[in-house]
């Protein structure tokens, strides 16, 4: 067996790093070359000399941080070479442009899952099954208590939640990139036909999606000066950062909800401070993670981003899959 230093990809300073290619994956500090799996800010840091991502991720990133970064882009499935290593992006189903990244070197395959989900989402490409020898997977929701409902069931719950309180303004908090667009797409297919407003940050992302050819329902950009009456019975999408503090004072007679996978647990729902929680996630649930591990045919698996203890033990005991630990 090889030592940790000899793995093609390993942890270095808390980040995934491929020494042979001298390239980092979603680094949290400035480096020379960074592969970016998707455009969420916890996977991106300023100051790298060069970024490499899918075309969609590049456009979304530039929409968020301005055009002043150097990004090289590749299509899904298109292979490129760095220091003799073949690298390619594959859809991960997390948000628009999100990808798994495969490395092939000397016939050995490595796959970094990135953030992923298997559920239907019309606003991005469906997760692609990629075979590999080594799999580095996220496991944000790596416990069997996490089992997602069908997306349209949640959308109908949201629709009912709004229409059952026609005298109220319904504030739905969700991440402004990915989750918001997915929700908009799903909600527009429900019985809810009222006005939908969105916060500037979400509005901006909606426009980026539209530019990339994704059909997103039109929403009205929320202005602080909006009359209270006009907002009655309508839905407003807001980023979670605005849920605390004075921003909510702009509205009267509201009900609030948070759309997140964590909302499937009652204690977290209660502690969150929102009236209601909708358990919908852009990450895979327990069964989803197991399915991806199996379908990838990986003989060796690493986990990161989450509590991997239970998942690792389960795979070793029940599926006889070799789960390895990163030396951090």
């Amino acid at each position: 067996m090889r030592t940790k230093q000899e793995y093609l990809i390993r942890y270095k300073d808390g980040n995934l790093y491929c020494e042979l290619a001298d390239i980092w994956i979603d680094p949290t500090k400035p480096v020379k070359k960074a592969l970016i799996t998707h455009a969420h800010f916890d996977h991106f840091t300023f100051g790298c000399e060069e970024y490499i991502s899918t075309k969609e991720t590049a456009i979304l990133l530039k929409g968020r941080v301005g055009g002043n970064i150097k990004i090289k882009t590749f299509e899904y499935g298109e292979e490129f070479k760095i220091n003799g290593i073949n690298i390619s992006f594959h859809p991960s189903g997390h948000i628009l442009g999100s990808s798994q990244i495969r490395f092939i070197f000397a016939e050995e395959k490595w796959l970094i899952s990135g953030d992923f989900k298997l559920q239907k989402d019309e606003t991005c490409k469906q997760f692609e099954i990629v075979k590999t020898d080594y799999l580095i997977s996220e496991c944000t929701f790596g416990l069997p208590i996490f089992k997602w409902d069908e997306t349209n069931k949640i959308a109908n719950d949201i629709s009912k939640w709004i229409t059952n309180s026609p005298e109220k303004t319904s504030l739905l908090f969700c991440y402004s990139l990915g989750k918001a667009q997915r929700l908009l797409n799903e909600i527009s297919q429900t019985n809810f036909k009222g006005n939908i407003y969105s916060h500037e940050s979400i509005h901006k992302m909606n426009n980026s999606y539209k530019k990339l050819g994704i059909d997103i329902k039109d929403t009205i950009k929320i202005e602080n000066k909006k009359k209270i009456d006009e907002l009655k019975g309508s839905l407003i999408l807001l980023p979670p950062s605005l849920s605390k503090g004075s921003y909510l004072k702009n509205f009267k007679n509201i009900q609030t909800a948070f759309a997140s996978g964590w909302m499937s647990i009652r204690a977290l729902r209660k502690r969150s401070g929102y009236d209601k929680g909708f358990a919908i996630s852009d990450h895979a649930d327990w069964d989803g993670i197991l399915e991806v591990v199996k379908n990838s045919e990986a003989k060796n698996v690493f986990f990161h981003h989450g509590d991997s203890e239970a998942l690792s033990k389960y795979l070793v005991e029940k599926e006889s899959i070799n789960v390895l630990l990163f030396g951090k």
Binding site: L143, P144, I145, F146, K147, S264, I265, R266, A267, R269, K270, R271, G273, D275, K276, G277, E309, A310, K313, Y314, E317, K318
Partner: protein, 546 residues
């Protein structure tokens, strides 16, 4: 259909924060369901269904056995969720393969009066099989309610006051009457529900129950503008507030938590039953030092309250006294509507009459509270400062002209607590101790309410006895929600009285306040988390000091 409706009601109550909306939802529910199901709903929502048919551990083992699931995995999930019934509910999702949901139309009544109680008549094997059958046949949406009732952990953020309000609004009858009807042993039946919503008030039926307690508010500055002569002053004893009732010869002893505790204090019941008059007395039960004429520590009282039918030795070791504050009813005559000062005259009159009976000496178990007569407010303050010397918590100040309202009526009764300042807070985090306390969770963080949220406000590690520390440690390990390194976040369930010396504004803390020398002064096992203080109370306290 009614279990479906109850399940929806549970979901709604769980996700609505506004009191008014909760009341609306409850009213709608009561209007659209059968009396028997309504009666069960009230029984469940007021937390009277705490009978445990099987333990959480049993439930987890059973699930593990049926679905061949590793127990350690269930335990790991439990750490995240903090409730066995909910863990199993989440794990059961998509697990039950039976398409035949025969129980989808089961009523709340059938589930609670038949399906679940019948489990107790089965042997283990039959019981396990039956639970599995129910899981298979019950629609997934009902699993949580079923599992929670099974494990005796059904709780939802609804107070008895809210139920009272909803019913009161439903039938347009005063809350006092409803709260009276709801007191004591509410047994679910068509009759009990019909009684509850009966628009004719039947005094005789009401007679067997205590009156709603009148509660004191924390003192506010405006009181000092009034003449001292407008008020009656009493010591604030630190015991258990109770109503001692004798009607038609029967004595009953009710706590403020609506528990009938005759069995814990048989000597008091015995003595009082020999008094010729009928009466309802409001007062405090204490463990008493008869030689020094002083209250003994609350912890000694705890030794009595949890023990039913105490033997003679226990009765002698922990001698109790009932100190009456107020007379509410005498020989069938409800006198709550007459002024406090006149009720006091009646109380003194009857006390001297009862006391002077040679054949029944009650002085070793009963007295009326002594009054204090401060000259002015400054003098009152001096009395308050002295209250530590006689083991009381401060003063109770009552408006002489006030009638006996029910609930926390503003502006008539005040509590003027002695420093240190105290707040009742909920335990939310624990950290392992070091040195002598290594291996035990001995450093605690406490929270106060802000709307529906618990906000951390102080950490404390001193004040508990070694025995209490061990007991709490055990509880902490069983009730951890999450671990972050050495710190555990805990299921909010335990309430403690926290004392401190100074309270001031602090931008560094989420709560916005900082307290000096916080310490635990009492483990309030008698309190539910909803009884804990709010941050607002802390702010009020701060205002009062400065």
């Amino acid at each position: 259909m009614s279990l479906k409706k109850f399940s929806e009601l549970f979901g709604d109550l769980d996700s609505i924060n506004s009191t008014n909306n909760k009341i609306e939802v409850l009213k709608k529910y009561f209007l659209s369901n059968e009396p028997i199901d309504n009666s069960w709903a009230i029984y469940l929502l007021t937390g009277k269904s705490n009978k445990r048919f099987i333990s959480g551990r049993y439930l987890k083992n059973l699930f593990s056995q049926i679905y061949e699931y590793p127990e350690w995995l269930i335990d790991t999930c439990y750490l995240k969720v903090g409730d066995s019934a909910e863990v199993i509910t989440l794990l059961l999702k998509n697990k039950t393969t039976s398409r035949n949901k025969k129980l989808s139309n089961i009523s709340l009544n059938e589930l609670l009066s038949k399906t679940i109680p019948e489990l107790s008549n089965l042997n283990e094997e039959e019981k396990n099989l039956q639970i599995k059958n129910i899981w298979e046949r019950l629609p997934e949406d009902y699993h949580l309610i079923f599992n929670k009732i099974l494990t005796g952990t059904f709780r939802v953020g609804v107070s008895i006051g809210l139920i009272t309000k909803s019913i009161s609004k439903l039938i347009n009858i005063d809350e006092e009457i409803i709260s009276h009807r709801l007191m004591g042993n509410f047994k679910p039946s068509i009759d009990s529900y019909e009684f509850l919503i009966n628009k004719n008030i039947n005094l005789q039926e009401l007679n067997s129950k205590p009156f709603p307690f009148l509660l004191a508010n924390t003192i506010e500055d405006k009181i000092f503008k009034h003449s001292i002569n407008d008020f009656q002053f009493e010591w604030k004893y630190d015991g258990i507030r109770m109503q001692l009732i004798k009607r038609s010869g029967n004595v009953s002893l009710w706590t403020r938590g609506q528990e009938l505790v005759n069995e814990s204090f048989p000597e008091l019941v015995e003595k009082m039953s020999h008094i010729k008059d009928d009466f309802v007395l409001d007062g405090e039960l204490l463990v008493w030092d008869f030689k020094e004429q002083i209250a003994l520590d609350f912890s000694l009282l705890q030794k009595r309250i949890n023990r039913k039918s105490p033997n003679r030795a226990i009765q002698i070791k922990y001698p109790i006294i009932f100190i009456a504050y107020d007379l509410l009813e005498i020989n069938g005559r409800d006198i709550r509507e007459i002024k406090l000062e006149n009720r006091r005259i009646e109380l003194e009159k009857y006390f001297s009459k009862w006391q002077n009976k040679r054949e029944n000496n009650i002085s070793d178990i009963f007295k009326i509270c002594d009054l204090i007569f401060p000259k002015d407010w400054l003098d009152a303050l001096t009395y308050k400062e002295k209250s530590r010397e006689n083991n009381t918590e401060g003063l109770i100040i009552k408006k002489k002209t006030s009638i006996y309202y029910s609930g926390r009526k503003k502006g008539i009764w005040w509590k003027y607590k002695v420093d240190p300042m105290q707040l009742d807070a909920v335990l939310i985090y624990a950290r392992g101790g070091s040195g002598r306390r290594a291996g035990l969770y001995t450093d605690y963080s406490f929270a106060l309410w802000k709307d529906q949220e618990l906000i951390k406000f102080a950490s404390a590690y001193s004040g508990l006895t070694n025995i209490e520390i061990k007991e709490l440690d055990k509880w902490i390990r069983k009730n951890t929600i999450e671990k972050f390194g050495p710190v555990r976040s805990l299921k909010p369930e335990m309430v403690f009285e926290i004392s401190f010396e100074k309270i001031q504004i602090s931008k560094r803390h989420k709560s916005g306040i900082a307290v000096r020398f916080p310490r635990i002064t009492k483990w309030r096992k008698d309190k539910k988390i909803y009884d804990a203080d709010s941050l607002e109370n802390a702010y009020k306290l701060m205002k009062k000091i400065s």
